[in-house]
C-alpha cells in the first residue's frame, strides 16, 4: 500500500517529475481523504512521483516549515502545500522558489498582501471558504426564524480558513437576522466540540442551531445535543462532507455541510504543478475549486446516480 514509487527500482524514476504534497493535520479525515485522492491519481497517471507528508498537529507550524526545507533538500520538482498558516510559511516557500521549485498553494490561502510584498507569485488552488460557509449558513437560515439564536463552533483561531468560515457563517446569520449568542473555538476537534457545545446549550437554552466550522466538530455537537436532550430539535451544520457526517445527514442528525471535494483538491493542485513543470511559461493563475452545499437531497440524488 502507499505510493512508494521512490522505492521502486524503476529505471526511469529520475526522468519523472517528483511532486511533494505537504498537508497539515494528518489527524483530520479531510486530509487523509485528500492524501488518498492524490495517491490514487498518481497511480492512475504514473507520470510523476509523489511524496506525501503532513504534520501531526495543525498548531505545529514550524514542523511544516521544516518539511518544506526537507522537500527542497530532497530535490523535488514541485511542492503542493496546504499551509497550516497563511503567513509563516511564506519565507520558506520563497526559498523553495529560489531553488527552482514550483510551488502551488491549496486549501488554505496564503496571505495575498504578503505575497505581493515579497514579489512572489504562487497559484492558489482551492475553494472560497467564506462563500462555502455562507452557502451552508444560508441553507440553515431557511429553517430558522428571524431573531432565533444560534452558536458557532470555530476552528483553530490561528487558521485562516477557520476564520473565513466563521465570517461566512456570520454573513449568513446577519443577513437572515438571526442572533449569534455564542461563538467559541473547539480547535477542529470532536471531543472538545462536545464539551463546548454542551456548555453553550446549557448556558443558552434558546439556541436553535449550531454552526460548526468543520464536520468533526459537528459530530461533537451531535453528542452534546444528545447529552442535553436536544437531539430532536437542534439543527447542526458542518463543513467538509466527511463520511461520518454523510451518515448523520441521512439520519437527520446534521442538516447540511459543504463539500470542498477534498479528494480532488490535491489533484487539482498537482495538475497545476505538473503543467508549470512542463512549461515554465504557463501563466500563474489561481484556480477556484468548487464548494458545494450538501444536504439530504443531494446525497439521495447522488446515491440514485451511483445506483444507475
Amino acid at each position: 500500500k502507499g505510493s512508494a514509487t521512490t522505492d521502486a527500482p524503476n529505471s526511469d524514476s529520475s526522468t519523472k517529475p517528483k511532486v511533494a504534497l505537504i498537508m497539515k493535520s494528518l489527524a483530520n479525515e479531510f486530509f487523509s481523504t485528500m492524501a488518498s485522492g492524490a495517491e490514487m491519481h498518481q497511480q492512475d497517471s504514473g507520470e510523476y512521483e509523489l511524496v506525501v507528508n503532513g504534520i501531526k498537529d495543525e498548531r505545529d507550524v514550524s514542523r511544516q516549515v521544516a518539511l518544506v526545507q526537507e522537500m527542497v533538500a530532497s530535490n523535488v520538482d514541485a511542492i503542493v502545500i496546504a499551509p497550516a498558516e497563511s503567513q509563516a510559511l511564506i519565507p520558506s516557500l520563497r526559498r523553495a522558489i529560489k531553488a527552482g521549485i514550483i510551488v502551488v498553494n491549496i486549501d488554505n490561502k496564503l496571505d495575498a498582501e504578503m505575497l505581493s510584498k515579497e514579489g512572489l507569485q504562487i497559484p492558489f488552488v482551492g475553494p472560497d471558504n467564506r462563500a462555502g460557509a455562507r452557502a451552508v449558513g444560508d441553507y440553515l437560515a431557511t429553517q430558522l426564524a428571524k431573531s432565533d439564536s444560534v452558536a458557532i463552533l470555530e476552528g483553530l483561531q490561528t487558521s485562516e480558513n477557520g476564520r473565513a468560515r466563521k465570517a461566512g457563517f456570520e454573513d449568513a446569520m446577519n443577513a437572515a437576522g438571526v442572533t449569534i449568542v455564542d461563538s467559541q473555538s473547539a480547535e477542529w476537534e470532536m471531543s472538545k466540540a462536545n464539551e463546548i457545545a454542551s456548555s453553550m446549550l446549557s448556558e443558552h437554552t434558546e439556541i436553535k442551531a449550531i454552526l460548526a466550522a468543520n464536520d468533526s466538530m459537528a459530530l461533537g455537537a451531535i453528542a452534546a445535543a444528545r447529552s442535553v436532550g436536544r437531539s430532536d430539535d437542534l439543527l447542526i451544520v458542518g463543513f467538509d462532507n466527511i463520511a461520518a457526517v454523510q451518515t448523520a445527514i441521512r439520519d437527520g442528525k446534521v442538516l447540511a455541510t459543504a463539500d470542498q471535494h477534498g479528494d480532488q483538491l490535491a489533484v487539482y493542485g498537482i495538475e497545476t504543478a505538473l503543467k508549470l513543470i512542463e512549461d515554465k511559461t504557463t501563466a500563474v493563475v489561481d484556480v477556484e475549486t468548487p464548494v458545494d452545499l450538501v444536504i439530504k437531497e443531494t446525497l439521495v440524488a447522488k446515491e440514485n446516480l451511483d445506483a444507475k
Binding site: 479525515e29 481523504t33 455564542d182 454542551s198 468533526s216 442535553v228
Partner: protein
Amino acid sequence: MITKQMKGTVLQYGGLLTALALLILVFSLRTDSFFQISTAKLIANQIPELTLLAVGMTLVLVIGQIDLSVGSVMALAGAVLGVLMAKHDWSLGPAILASLATAATCGWATGAISIWFRIPSFIVSLGMLQIARGATRRLLESKTLTIGSDVAVISEPLAGIGLSPAFLIAIVAVFAVQFLISSTVFGRYCVAIGTNAEAVRMSGIRTTPYAIAVFVISGLLCGLAGLAPTSLMEAADPGMGNGIELSAIAACVIGGTSLMGGRGNAISTFLGVLVIAVLQTGLSRMSVEDANKQIITGVVIIIAVLIDTVRRNWEKSEA
C-alpha cells in the same frame, strides 16, 4: 471513632474540596446556568474517560513509573470496537471484550519492555503512544468511523438517575483502585515498589510481575475509557484522546500523587479530575475568550494545588 475517621477524611480531602467549592462558587456567581443539577449530570457524563485514565495513571505513578500512551491506547480501543461493530458486524459485548483485550495488551507491552529491559517507562510509553496512534489510524484509515446507535447505551444516561453506565463504571473504578491501593496485598506491594523497589526485592518479593500487572490494569482502564467517547459520538475517532495524558497526570498530581512513586490515592485523583472538568465547563459557560481561558486555567491549576499544599502543611504542624 467514626467522627475521628470523618475528620480524617475531611482533612485528607479538605484542600481539594475547598478548591473545588471555590471554583463552583465563582462559576455560579458568574453564569446563570452553572449551579444546577443538570450541570452536574453533564459533567458526570463528560468525565468518564479522563477519570478512568487518571485512575490507571495513579497506579502507574504509585509504582514510580509513568504511562504517556494512555490517550492513544484509548483511541485504539475505540477503533477496535468501531471496526469490529461497523465493519464486521460483531455485537457490542464481544466487541468490547476484544477492545479491552487490545488495550490490556498494549499496557502489558509497555510494562514488559520497560521493566524487563529497564528502559524508562517514559520512553517506552512515548513509543507506544506513537505505535498505538499509528495503529488506530491504520485501522480507521484515518477517518471517523460511524458505528451507529448500538454503541450508544454505554453513555446513555440511565432512566431515573440520569447518569450513564460509563460514569458508573468510572466511579466503580475509582473505588476499586482505591481499595486495591489501600487494602490489598497487590496494592501494598505497589506502594512498596514505588517507595524502594530494592528493599522489596530484598524482602523476597518479585517486583517485576507486580509492575507489569499495573501496566496491564492501566491498559485495561484505557480500554474502558475508550468506550465512553466512542459511545457518546457513536463513532470511532482516530484523533481521540490526543494529548489527554497530560491532563490525566495533572489530575493525579493535583490529587497529591507523587511522580516519584510510593504515594497515590484514587479518590484524590478523582477530585483532581473534577477540578479540571469543572474549570473547563465553567469557562466555556462563561464563553471567555480562548486565550484568556488558557491563562485562567493555568493560574487556577496552580492555585488549586497551592491550597492543597497549604492544607497539608497546616495538617502536619497540627499533628
